[in-house]
Symmetry: C2
Subunit: 439 residues, 2 copies
């Protein structure tokens, strides 16, 4: 497993000036991968790496022969859209690309003129999904979220007996995952008011977001084999932001006994930039369980979990109403969560999902589940923030909210900070609720 | 919508003699599509059409210029593996291919020598999945199955209030779908005996099959739009056999609150031949609800449903143990189901799944759910046949079964019969249970 190396050095600076700005998500220590093109013109989508407010066009750098021989073949995969072939490479091949790009963008690079010709301003770009996502599984890793939501759906029985024994998860819909910046219509569906005898077919009235992290799989496994927890992280390509939009009124009526279906399948948003696991290495942190909880079964445990099983990622969710946008008001922060508050670690999700022989494929997406923590300021969906819609809150514009209104934009951001290391960020994941189509 | 036409004429015969055998699944009236290659050698998989005990190699027929101009472009898509591009064509383009192939294989065809050079014996072939399946949704269309199973999982509350209002479904795992003939290892997972305080991690002890029909989507819809029930069938490419292998002990422990996950994701079997909706046209039959049940909501109803909303497909499940195989004993029939016994029609599943704006894609798979009917002889999984393992049954070999043992082969077959029409069949869907890997 790759540990902290020179590409993480806090003293490392880029000749791309915006990358040295303390506020940027994309210093030279980050180097996340994505798929982009210039918004104007008829370009094809292609692979890029974010640096400051620019994008390194990997194919353009290859065309100028800027990669060393040992990184060239892997860089060709990083230049193609979608990035599945790159994700499928062994971690050391991808690490060679990271080292090469870190050098090309560093102050030490003698070829900065040629490299600068390969930069595209992020302001001129549009994005596509970084991977062809063939399989999406969504988990329920936060005990706080499961407790808060469980209390609303099953007041007498919020946490079911299996929760502490296995990472509860379900299959999500892959076809309706879209990249940040694409908006969606409020879904229509069957809703059943507890006071009505019959359901109705109408636009969702309890539309919600769920702030999650998305784990993108690198190398997969063969059907019929399991990924050992000690190797699980080596199957991770990187992490991005995921908004698992949810129609709570559709959900509460449809979800028994086979789980959420149309309540979630209408749209899922993903951030365009994937922060690689190698970039996240310095922010590793320990992982533990509350005293008295069952010890994880052997296939869910390795000693490494205790010291570096989680990653100290903070996830913030913000909301900007249409009125706030019109008035130029900045988005209002609704919550900040910590990934280490999750009850189940990323490697445990992978060990669990493959324990029955299921094959993961490069580009598969695993959602963490809503990342709420024990602190009320970390409730990462409106269902929890308003306790099922019972307690509205007020936006800085004076508008009141229980659930999302048409025109609301939800923005997710995330970052890692640690003494002695540069802050790195995830960019943003943003989408706006459009009015429902006519039923 | 295509109705019965000359390609269905019972008097139509093929110069391929085996296609005129009354017992064949593949008379000239059927013409199902699949993906095959010769098992020996290093051929690429390619598109084919079954006729009697032969396969028409569509690409070989194109190379001999045997298709009329109006069918040529569509036939090129039917020659490529997987068949997604062909599935995505408008139904009338695919209908032109069917007409052309029906003529080429008919007794009237003057080019039978050239066409015969394009045939590959099914005995020499191996198959791949007919489509790249990016999304798999599985439904719960049989009220009898839901009642029988619901009684075991929730004795006091077998049928939940939503069942008669919407087709309950969930997302399945797409990556572990395999074509008939591929075997799988018994899954390992967390099992919780009701009498034990804690779960264990062990090979599944209650391994089951589920006999279903699989609907493969032809043309998809745009994200954010719904497919109207009156157009729903025009989005269907065809129907195949689906065995939704299920680990009942994993399922009962894991499934709350988010539904089945590892209990199903380890393996799913699909038959190699897709019977097109056009071939199924003569076997259309009416669809009705029991008296007193709620009327379907408007988006679930069109007058056509009452007269031709279902298709009279019979689905048989057979079991052959390792001992029976060794002794040359024929597989034992366990059940025969009727598709019209389903509570929800195929068009209703499509209207439901897209009602919230979810996009279906060409090659997407929708499972009917286990096709049990009210008759005990139509219980289409062991959980129902043995009432949760309480009532073992005896095979002709004298062996006893509650759930599946290692070495058991489960075989599904299906067919349509109607006076005045030829019987057509679906071929078979077969797989054998291999021992679990070591935990």
């Amino acid at each position: 497993m790759t540990r902290s190396n020179h590409t993480h050095d806090v003293s490392r600076k880029s000749w791309v000036r915006s990358a040295n700005d303390g506020a940027t998500d994309f210093p030279i220590q980050n180097l996340p991968h994505g798929v982009f093109r210039r918004a104007s013109g008829n370009e094809n989508f292609r692979g890029g790496i974010a640096i400051g407010d620019q994008i390194l066009d990997v194919g353009a750098a290859l065309a100028r022969n800027l990669f060393p021989a040992e990184a060239r073949e892997a860089a060709q995969a990083a230049a193609r859209a979608p990035l599945n072939d790159y994700m499928a490479l062994p971690p050391d091949k991808r690490s060679a690309v990271r080292s090469a790009v870190s050098f090309l963008l560093s102050e030490d690079c003698p070829q900065r003129k040629e490299v600068s010709e390969c930069l595209v301003p992020q302001a001129d770009a549009e994005y596509a999904l970084p991977a062809r996502i063939e399989n999406f599984s969504d988990f329920y890793s936060s005990l706080s979220h499961a407790t808060n939501v469980g209390r609303l759906f099953r007041p007498d029985n919020p946490i079911l007996p299996n929760y502490r024994w296995l990472p509860v998860g379900y299959h999500g819909r892959a076809s309706s995952i879209r990249v940040s910046g694409q908006d969606f219509r409020r879904p229509i569906g069957q809703l059943k008011d507890p006071n009505s005898a019959e359901p109705e077919f109408a636009p969702c009235r309890r539309l919600d977001y769920e702030a999650e992290l998305g784990v993108l799989i690198g190398q997969g496994n063969e059907l019929g084999t399991a990924i050992d927890i000690q190797n699980a992280d080596s199957h991770v390509f990187g992490i991005c932001l995921l908004n698992d939009w949810s129609a709570r009124d559709i959900q509460s009526w449809e979800y028994q006994p086979l789980g959420p279906f149309l309540a979630k399948s209408f749209f899922t948003s993903l951030s365009p930039w994937i922060v690689t696991l190698e970039a996240l290495e310095p922010y590793r942190t320990g992982f533990s369980r509350p005293e008295g909880d069952p010890a994880p079964m052997p296939h869910f445990w390795s000693p490494e979990l205790a010291t570096r099983g989680s990653i100290d990622i903070r996830v913030e969710t913000l909301l900007q109403s249409a009125q706030m946008r019109t008035n130029g008001a900045t988005p209002a922060s609704l919550s900040v969560s910590r990934y280490p508050d999750a009850y189940w670690a990323m490697s445990q999700l992978i060990a669990h999902q493959t324990s029955n022989g299921t094959n993961l494929c490069p580009g598969d997406l695993l959602g963490s589940g809503t990342l709420s923590g024990p602190d009320p300021a970390s409730r990462a969906c409106l269902l929890e923030l308003t306790e099922g819609g019972k307690h509205p809150f007020t936006l800085p514009s004076g508008e009141s909210r229980t659930f999302l209104e048409d025109g609301d934009t939800v923005i997710m951001r995330a970052w890692c900070e640690r003494d002695g290391y540069r802050r790195i960020g995830f960019g943003e994941c943003r989408a706006t609720v459009l009015p429902a189509r006519r039923p």
